[in-house]
Amino acid sequence: MRRSSFRGLWVADVKLFSLRHVFREFRHVSREPRLVAARDLYRSSQRERTPEARGRKLLREWLSPAQRETFDAYGYVDVLGSESGQRYRIYYGSISNIRELNEKDDPVAGLCFAPAAALPPGDVMLAQKIVLENDESRALAIANRFHSTSQPIQVRNAHRAR
């Protein structure tokens, strides 16, 4: 018998067996519903702490119910200019993410302005929304206007990213 003639190998085998046993048990235990729920909760809380997630949360908190619904479904926010009543669509993003819309909801021009700081997209969108809805002329005075008849290129479902 190999194990009886090589005691060292036998001991190693036993240890290996024990380790396998422990891992098997751990794998079994790690599938326990309560542990799975705790692990998911931990991962979810970690995801919610990223700047992007916090920015999205802040934005959603400050949107009107209708805007929140649109944002959740499509990833953009429609706002009305405070002075002209012009409709603007703010897409999820930080750069060149605003479009002026015509009566058919088609983009006719792009606007680019943002807070002068490194902020997550949700924060940028919220600042853009507040200024367009409350001081449109200030926003237009600051913004760079560019020709655009299409929406910005976006990562699909980025506004829902986890």
Binding site: A53, G55, S96, A114, A116, A118, N134
Partner: protein, 73 residues
């Protein structure tokens, strides 16, 4: 409790204060002045959900949001 929310690279920083506590209110007012003097814009939410700019410190405002100076892109 009233809250001051300041946008930053982490998403935001939140500072709470009790409007009936003189020391906390004074600290909140100091923060308001410091932020607005460095280019931040303050906005508040009204009871109806509308947003408006806030030009001076008002301890009765439930939530005040501060965002940095805007620039053209």
């Amino acid at each position: 409790m009233a809250t001051q929310i300041v946008m930053d690279s982490t998403g935001d920083a939140r500072y709470q204060f009790a409007p009936d506590d003189a020391r906390e209110t004074s600290e909140a007012e100091r923060r308001f002045r410091q932020l607005t003097s460095t280019g931040f814009t303050a906005a508040a939410r009204t009871a109806t959900g509308d947003l408006r700019f806030v030009r001076s410190f008002d301890p009765t405002v439930h939530e005040t949001l501060f965002f940095p100076r805007l620039v053209g892109g």
